[in-house]
Every structure is written in structure tokens, then in C-alpha cells.
Amino acid sequence: MTISATPVNPLRAGLRIPRTPEPCALVVFGATGDLTARKLMPALYNLARERLLPAGFSVVGFARRPWTDADFRAAMREAIEKFSREPLQSDIWDTFARSLHYVSGTFGDIDGYERLGERLLAEDSAHGSAGNRVFYLATPPGAYAEIAHHLGEANLSRSPSGGWTRLVVEKPFGSDLESARKLDQSLGLVFRERQIFRIDHYLGKETVQNIMVFRFGNGIFEPIWNRRYVDNVQVSVAETVGLEGRGGYYDQSGALRDMVQNHLLQVLALVAMEPVATLTGEGVRDEKAKVLRAVKPIEDVDRLTVRAQYTAGAINGLRVPGYRDEPDVGDRSLTETYVALKLGIENWRWADVPFYLRVGKRLPKRATEVAITFRSAPLQLFREMRADNPTPNLLVLRIQPDEGISLRFGAKVPGTRMDVRPVNMDFRYGTSFGIEPPEAYERLLLDAMIGDSTLFTRWDSVEAAWEVLTPVLGAWAAGASPLHYYEAGTWGPDEARSLVERDGREWHRM
């Protein structure tokens, strides 16, 4: 993984963590918001308690509310008590809280940025953070360009004392190809690409990272990881939840923009990319971008995509409303809450292997999986012998919950007859390592502070992903493909089943 070039600390040799962030200040725009309270602050607190934050570290919250440092600390304490995976310990909190500060200002108020600059200089002096800054935009995406512009205007995008500055932005990065390009241009006026860290929290998940280890750290899988042995690949994200208060945003976005453009295509890229020569951030991101650029353009949108919206139904024994009855959703909304796609990758490894993607809300269970179905054995020896054949080998990478990997193969049922039955060989993180993986945000925040961009999305990948979906967005906007409906608590519309069944396949059962 890449590390920013700094002199090597001889005391780091042989330590559990060979890399650690340099002293720095983390500025959180949108510091009073939900993301800060639910994810960022608990992650920072847990990094602090586990000795993973640098010695000179401070957080400066920036938001509109007229809070003081004390108000900010009180709110963050409450957030940690509520959302942290580890309980708050007063002694640790007391010293952590001293590093929390707050600057009040609106995103369009240049005076606020100047006050922020003064505050950061004071932090450099007090904590020795040497002008190193991470600006984290935990704000609505519409504010990204404005904040970046003002950071540049206030000379905050460049460190005053030879340090580094980085910008972390959350997805979505644009709402289509054009808006994404426009946003990229806006950020590019102020920050260079190497300074921009586009966060996709899926990439911080242990199993997603394990896809690379699984593929490239083992000798047995890569030789069969190609069109000769793989029949099809399915990437599925099933959610039981509805909108959870995000109706205003989601109704503008929909499942394609909210999930497929980033999470699903990033996971697809990790599954399909070529091996990297070295495990550097740029090496991995180069290969991911190549795969996304090799995705076959979706020409027949009606045949290769399915969009649907949930209606009222029941989940886990509870009645739930239909999408259009959710708060902040229009009565006639045509926003999709379910998407299924069939993609192809035009390269030597994957030509003619279909990649099926599906994502949906209000499905019967919460699960994210990559299922790789292998071609059947060339000769079906056991076809006539009460076997369940042809049951192809199936490799499932479970991303959440219960992260792990399972492999299905046929085994002889004990007895005098030659009965064959599919069995599963299971690896689970929880059992093999006895611990649960850390929160994705802990890993990603740490990497952003360290400067390791491997798990962040580079602009060319973002652009390529939008290019893949642009024909779909266009066709859907033009009404070329009908919006289907599915009852909440079911596995989606019949049309999604047809998408794979007409190829003689079926969705992997989650």
C-alpha cells in the first residue's frame, strides 16, 4: 500500500502498525450532522483509544450552528455514547475531547473559512500538527464544490508550512456523468487528484479487502478466475430497510445512483480486475479503472436492466408501507428502489461471462454477496445416479453480514449408492479469527490520514462507472424501460428473475 514519503521512524520497525498518521488536524464540514455523529466521531474515538491516532492530532468541526467548543464536545460525547462500538471511557474521553474544537460558519461564508484558518494555525502551534490537514466533507454533495472553492479562496488547500492537505468526499460523486465531471472540475481547480480521497465505505469492509487477498494471495483460485472456468458472476446487495429518514435524498437519487454507480461497480471491479504487480494504491486503482472501462456499453437497456419500486408488504413479521407512502417521497414517484443489470466485460479474461448485479430495498433479508458460479464438469458422470447434478460449484464471498467465504461442491452421500449431494465449505471471519472486523470508517479515516489511497476511488473509476450507467439513466428518463413493482418482503419483481432465467441461469439464493 502506498505511504506518503516521510523519513522512516526507526522506532516503528517491527511494530504492529508500521505506519501511522503524521500529526495532523482533521476538519469536519457538517460537524453537527448525522454522519459525523453516527460514524466519524465514534470511529475517531476508537482509533484514539487504540493508540492509532498521531500524537499531535486535533479535530475541528465546522458547521452553521453557533456552537462553542464545549457544545461540540458535549454533542460528540453523546454521539460516542450512543454509536461507538466500544463504550466511552471517561479518562480517554477527557483527553480526546481536548483535541476537539469547533468553528461556526456557513459553507458560503468566507469569514468562516478565515476563522477556520486561524484556528488551524493555533492547532499547529499547540499540537505540532505541522500544517497537515484533512478536510472531510460530511455534507450534502451539493455543498462540495462551494466548500472546495472557499477552501482555495482562503488559502487552506495548501499547507502554510510545507505539510500536506487532503480532501475527503463522500459518495455520491455527482448525479450523472455530466454533473460528476463538473464537480471534478470544481474540485480540480483547488485540489490535485492525489489530494482527493473519494470515500466508498464498502471498500473499507474486511471482506471487500479480502477479495484481493483471496484472489492474489492464494495460488489455487487465480488460474480458474476466467471465462474458461467461470460461468457467471453475481453481485447482490439486499437491504431490509426502507428509507430511514433519507426520503428527500433517495427520491432524487434511486438505487442506480445510490448503490450501483459506486458500491456494486467497485466490488465488480475488485472481482474482475487483473492482478497487480505491486500492492500500491495506484496499481490497484489502475486495474480497477481498466475493468470499468472494459464494461460493454449497455445498448439494449430494456433487455439488460430491470428497475422496480417496492409496494406495501411485510418484513420480519412487520407490516411496512410502500415506497410512495414513505416520508418525503412523492405520491407519483418513479424512483427505483430495486435494480437488476446484466453486464459484460470485454477483455480476454471475461469475454462472454455475464456479470449480474442486483440491489434492492425492503427485500427479505440484509445481505451483500458476490457469487461466482463455475462451469459444470465437462462430463456428467453421475447424472443418472440420483445425483442433484448438474449443481455447479459456487464460490460465495459474503460481504455482510456474517462476513466470510463459502465454496459449494458435490460430495458422495455415505452409503452403497453413488448419490451426490452439494455441500458447503464455510469460512467465517467471526469463527476463524474470533473477532469482528473493525468499522469500515475506522480503517478509511486512518488511511486518509496516512495518505494511503488504495481503498478510495480515483476519478477515472468514477467517470468510467458513470459512463457505464449513462445509457441506462438516459433510457429510464425517457421512459424506455418500464418501472416494475414488487411487494416489500419479496426478492424483487418477476422481471428480475427473467433477466437471468432467459440465460438458463438463476439468482443465487441469499
Binding site: I17, P21, P23, A55, D94, A130, G430, T431
Partner: protein
């Protein structure tokens, strides 16, 4: 890292057995068959990623092994084997047991196996032979020498030939110079990967100290004028000596002058090129749960203090630059043997760093 699997432990069985590896294997199979068929736990998973072998010569080692097996398998599912050379019984005795941990999600259990072999100390050879027959094939073997690290003796009994890693605790020894020399020789001679629990207990100290010199602060390493270690023991503990030895070796300091008072207080003058650095190890009370109470590093610009507050399971870092002191508190409870072993198994060993630290520790002892 996130919290471990739940500590709820169920012991499935504890059965005396003849010292007969095939019979023991058969009994384990029976236990698992019973467990899965009894309705007790339809979803128990027998997991073994490690052979964990503990060898000891004192009766209390059985309790130490038991304590370790209450912690270790939850993180490193294993077959645990205790070879206890203690007691007066004429014949070797064995007992087996298994215990399970309920996983955080659902009703699934993960289960580990334990074998205890006991016999008189003079029958250690037979204990070792029985033990070798009980190792699960193809899994790494970790050996914990619970008492004096009689490496030569155990090597002679073939035990260490099969070991991938050997744990011992130099802090349990009074004669540190002799212990270090013996272990370094054995590591070289037998190509063993030695893991010193005293060294493992220093990880939080080393991490916090290293953090203070990251980034632009790295320049402070060239300005260090004094390293002061306060230890909370009557006699100089291995941890304090290894910590000082680690800093001396990593900073490339050369010894110029040494004053050792009865092995309990050390004052040394060292040099990095023309710059002098004093290293002192000083007793500061005793009977604290951790061997080191405080470390101070003085540079021309800053005094950094790292202290363990065992009572509240925290460590405190204090930096005194020109202005107000900066404080930081992190979680770090004093660890028992089981926790240290569990953690060290997670980490890559660093034999060269340790060997360098031991080399410098020996220099600070005047040997």
C-alpha cells in the same frame, strides 16, 4: 479491533484417559459426535488453527494453562496440550476436555480441545513423546515454556524441533544476563522463533513512544539527551531493561560509561556520534501490576513522559514543549500471560528487533 466472541464458556466434558494418543483422538471424535447429536448444540463448530503446547514443572502451571485456555482459543481456535512434569504419580496420566464459546451472532458455538498430560518431572521424555503424538497434523505448533526456559532440554526431547514458535517469559528470571545469553544462543543454534512475553508486554509502550517521533517530529530523535525508565519492582525487571535496550539499539547508541549498582539501578552514558545520551533505570516503588511505571525521554526541545496507570487501565502521554503540556490518554490495561500470548500470535514476530534490544540490554548490564 472489535470485541471478541463472547466469554460465555461451556465445558463439554472432562474425562480422564490413558496416555494413548489414538484412544484420545477416538474420545474426541466421540465427544463431537455426542455434542452434535444430543441437541445440546446442533451448531457447534470444532475449530483448530493451531496446536498450542504448554510445558511446565509446577503444579500451579495447570491453573495458568487453564486460565490461558479460557482466553486464547476464542481468538486462536486450537488444540491445547499441557505437559506438566510435576507431582509424584508413578504413571503418566491424561485427561481431555473441550470448551465452547458462543458467537456474538446466533446460537453457533466454536469449540476447542484440550489435553492434559501429567507425570513426574523425571519422566519429561515420555511426556514429550506422548505430546508429539497428539499434535494435529498440518497446523502450526506453538510451545509455551511456562517455567525456566530449559530450551536445551526440550530440544533434546524433539519437542522444539516441531515448534514454529516458542514462548517464554524472561521477566520470570532473576539472572537476566544469563537468561538472555542462553536464549539468544538457543535461538541461533536451533533456529527457533523465540517470543518473549516480557517483550510482548512492551508493545503499548513501544507504540506510544514511536508515535511521539512520527512525521516532522522525527528530528527530535537526534536531539535526545536522556532516557529514564522508572520500574516498579525491587529487582530490575526484564521489561525495563528491554525497553531501554530497544531504544538504545534503535537509536544506534554506543555505550561509553556504565554504573550498575547491584543490578537494581543502572546509569549509563552512551553516544550517537558526538552527542551524549544518559540512560537511567531506577526503582520507583514496587508491587505495581506492571513492571514499568514511567518512561521519560528528554530532548533539547521537549520532555515526553509515558506512564502506565494500572488502576484505571490507561496509559498517559505527556509532552512538555515550550507552552502548556499536552496530555493524551489511551486504553491499555496490564495484560496477563494469556492476553499477551493471544496478542503476540496476531502480530508478526520481529526477531531481529528483539535480538538487538537484548544485545543492548546485555550491554547495559555490563556483559
Amino acid at each position: 479491533m472489535a470485541s471478541d466472541v463472547t466469554a460465555a464458556i461451556d465445558r463439554i466434558a472432562e474425562r480422564p484417559m490413558p496416555v494413548d494418543p489414538p484412544a484420545i483422538e477416538a474420545e474426541f471424535l466421540a465427544i463431537w459426535r455426542d455434542a452434535s447429536g444430543s441437541g445440546y448444540d446442533q451448531s457447534s463448530i470444532r475449530l483448530r488453527v493451531l496446536n498450542f503446547v504448554a510445558v511446565g514443572y509446577r503444579q500451579e502451571d495447570a491453573q495458568r494453562f487453564d486460565g490461558t485456555m479460557q482466553v486464547l482459543p476464542a481468538r486462536h481456535p486450537c488444540r491445547g496440550i499441557l505437559a506438566l512434569g510435576a507431582g509424584e504419580a508413578e504413571r503418566l496420566e491424561a485427561s481431555i476436555s473441550a470448551r465452547c464459546w458462543r458467537l456474538p451472532t446466533g446460537a453457533r458455538h466454536m469449540c476447542s480441545e484440550e489435553v492434559r498430560l501429567t507425570g513426574r518431572r523425571d519422566r519429561a521424555q515420555e511426556l514429550a513423546s506422548a505430546l508429539l503424538g497428539l499434535l494435529v497434523p498440518e497446523l502450526p505448533v506453538t510451545v509455551w515454556l511456562m517455567d525456566e526456559p530449559d530450551v536445551d532440554g526440550w530440544v533434546a526431547m524433539d519437542l522444539l524441533d516441531v515448534a514454529d514458535r516458542v514462548f517464554f517469559d524472561s521477566a520470570a528470571e532473576q539472572d537476566l544476563a544469563s537468561t538472555y545469553q542462553r536464549l539468544l544462543r538457543a535461538a541461533r543454534q536451533f533456529e527457533l522463533e523465540l517470543s518473549d512475553l516480557a517483550w510482548g508486554r512492551l508493545s503499548p509502550w513501544r507504540e506510544l513512544i514511536a508515535q511521539c517521533f512520527d512525521g516532522d517530529r522525527i528530528g527530535q530523535l537526534d536531539k535526545i539527551t536522556a532516557i529514564e525508565v522508572d520500574f516498579a519492582r525491587e529487582h530490575l525487571p526484564s521489561e525495563a531493561l528491554l525497553l531501554a535496550g530497544w531504544l538504545v539499539s534503535r537509536l544506534g547508541l554506543s555505550l561509553a560509561d556504565l554504573d550498575v549498582s547491584s543490578g537494581e539501578r543502572i546509569r549509563a552514558t552512551l553516544y550517537a556520534r558526538t552527542r551524549g545520551v544518559t540512560v537511567t533505570l531506577t526503582p520507583a516503588g514496587s508491587a505495581a501490576p506492571c513492571a514499568i511505571s514511567e518512561l521519560r525521554i528528554r530532548t533539547a526541545d521537549v520532555t515526553i513522559s509515558v506512564a502506565m496507570h494500572a488502576a484505571n487501565s490507561h496509559m498517559h502521554v505527556r509532552e512538555q514543549w515550550d507552552g502548556e503540556p499536552v496530555h493524551r490518554t489511551v486504553a491499555s490495561a496490564p495484560e496477563d500471560d494469556a492476553s499477551v500470548i493471544t496478542r503476540m500470535l496476531d502480530e508478526f514476530a520481529d526477531p531481529a528487533i528483539y535480538a538487538d534490544a537484548v544485545g543492548s540490554a546485555l550491554a547495559l548490564l555490563g556483559t
